[in-house]
Symmetry: D2
Subunit: 168 residues, 4 copies
C-alpha cells in the first residue's frame, strides 16, 4: 500500500527543461498508461503552491482534481453549480505521490471515469510533469445530491451521457 | 467503498449551537471511537475554507491533516523542518467525508499512529464538528527522506520514540 | 510609502519562545498601539501558510483579515452570510508587512472600525507575533450590497450598532 | 478612497460568452488603459477560488499577483528563488476590486514596473475578465534582501535590466 519515493534511481533523472525550475528532479515512473485518460487539462501552478520544502504541497493535488473535474462538468457536461438542483459532493478522495514538482512548472492532469453508478461517479486522475514524469495518481468520488435536502439523486441524464464518454 | 451522505436521517440533525453557523446540518455518525485517537487539536476554519456550496471544501481537510501532524512533530517530537537532515514527505493520503461543516465552526482533529515502519509512518485521522458529528476520516503516510538526496532514511530516534506514544 | 524591513537592528531580536519556531527573528516595531484595537482573535497558522522562504506568505494575511472580520460579523453582529439579503463585499484591501512569522506560530489579530459610512465600513487591522512583534498592518473595506442586484444598500441597523462599538 | 461597485449600470453588462460562467455580471469599467501593462499572463481560476458568494475571493487576487510576478522573475529575469543569495520579499500590497469573476473564468493579469529603486521595486497590476471588464487594480512592493540576514541588498543587475523593460 505504501509507495515511497524510489531508491537508487536519482541518477536517471531527466535533464531539466530550460523553461522549468526543477528543484528536486525525480526519475520518471511509468506505472500508468497516459492513453487511458480521456480528458486532459494542463494547469499552471502558483507561487504559494510550493511549501517550505520547495515543492508543490500535497494538498494542492486535490485542488487540481476538484478544479479539472468541475471545469469539465461545467464546460463540457453543462453542469451549473449555482442553479442546478443536483450538486456533486465529494465523499472520498485519495492520492499517491510518485514524484515532486515545483512552481512555476505546470501540471498536466488526465481524467477518466472509473465507475459510473446511479448517483455516484468515481473519477480517476493522473498528474504529470512537463518532463513526462508521473507526478501522482488519485481518485475522487462524487455523489450527486439534492441541493437542499442533501439526499442522493440520480446523475442528470445529460451529464451522465457525457460521463460515459470518459469511461475507462 | 463508496459512502454517500446518509439518507432519511435529516430530521435527526442536532440543534445548532448558538456560536456556530450550521448551514447544512447532517446527523451524527459514530463509526469511529474518539477514544482511539491519542492526540487532539481543535483548529478554527477560515472564511475562504467555505466553497461555493457553503461548506468547508474537501481540499481543506488535507490541509488540516498536514497542519496537525506537522505541528505535533515540531512541538512535541522536536522536529525542525528548516534544519533537520531528514524531512517527512507525504507519499499517500486519503479521506472519506461523512458530513459537512461550515466556517466559522472549528474542527476537532484526532490523530494516532496506525503503522510505524523504519522510514515511514501511517497517520490515522478523525475530524469532528462542534456538535460531535464525525466529519471525516482519513490517513496520511509520511516517508522520511534525506533533505538533499530525497532517498528514504530511518525515522530519527527521538521522533520515533514520541510516535510510539501515539500508536493505535 | 515603502517600508522595508529594518536595517541594523537584527541583534535586538527577542529570544524565541520554547513553543514557537522562529525561523527569521525580526525586531519588534511599535508603530501601533495595541490598545487601539477593540476586538482580538488569535489565529493558528497552517503548514501550507509557509511558502518557499519558510515564512507565512503575504497572501495569508488577507485570508486572516477576511476570517477575523467575518467571524466577528457572524458571531457578534448576527450576520448570516447564507441568508442575509445584504452581504458585505470587499472593494479594497491593503497590507504593510513589518516582520516575518512562521508556522506553527499563531498570529494575534486586532481589529477596529476606522470609518463607518452608510453602506461601507473600513476595517483597520494589526497582526502580532507571539513574541509581541508587530507583524503587519492593513485595512479592508467592505461595502454592503444587495445579494441579488449587487447594488449598495445600507448597513443593517443591528450590525451597524455593533460596529460602532469597534470604532476607533 | 472607497470605490464601491457601480450603481445603475447593471443593464449594460456584456453578454456572457458561451464558455464562461458569469454568475454576477458587472459592467465593464475602463479606468485603466490595458496598453500600459508591458507583461501579460492569463491565469486559470480554480474551483476553490470561489467563496460562499460564488465569486473569486478577494484573497486570490494577491495570490495571482505573487504568481505572475515571480513567474516573470524566474522565467524572464533569471531569478532562482532556491539558490539566489538575494530574495524578494513583499513589504506592501494593495488591491481595489472593480468587478466580480467566477471559476471557471480565467483572469488576464497585466504587469508593469511603476517605480524601480535600489533595493525595491513597485509592481503595478491590472486584472481583467474574459469579457474585457476590469476586475481589479493593485500594487505589490518587493524589497530584495539577503537570504540569510534579511537586510536589504541591491537588486541584482541582470534582474534590474529586465525590470527596466517593464517600466511604466
Amino acid at each position: 500500500m505504501l509507495r515511497p519515493f524510489p531508491r537508487g534511481l536519482v541518477g536517471a533523472a531527466p535533464a531539466p527543461r530550460p523553461y522549468t525550475l526543477s528543484l528536486h528532479p525525480v526519475p520518471t515512473l511509468t506505472a500508468v498508461n497516459r492513453d487511458e485518460y480521456a480528458h486532459w487539462e494542463t494547469v499552471p501552478t502558483r507561487w504559494k503552491d510550493n511549501d517550505l520544502y520547495g515543492h508543490v504541497n500535497n494538498v494542492v493535488h486535490y485542488a487540481l482534481m476538484d478544479t479539472v473535474i468541475n471545469e469539465w462538468m461545467i464546460k463540457t457536461a453543462g453542469f451549473d453549480p449555482v442553479t442546478s438542483p443536483a450538486i456533486a459532493l465529494c465523499v472520498e478522495s485519495h492520492c499517491v505521490y510518485k514524484a515532486e514538482v515545483s512552481f512555476p512548472d505546470p501540471i498536466s492532469v488526465g481524467v477518466r471515469v472509473g465507475k459510473l453508478g446511479r448517483s455516484s461517479v468515481r473519477w480517476e486522475i493522473g498528474m504529470y510533469r512537463p518532463d513526462g514524469a508521473l507526478l501522482a495518481e488519485g481518485h475522487f468520488v462524487h455523489v450527486f445530491v439534492d441541493r437542499n435536502t442533501r439526499r442522493p439523486v440520480e446523475i442528470p441524464g445529460a451529464i451522465r451521457a457525457e460521463m460515459e464518454r470518459l469511461a475507462a
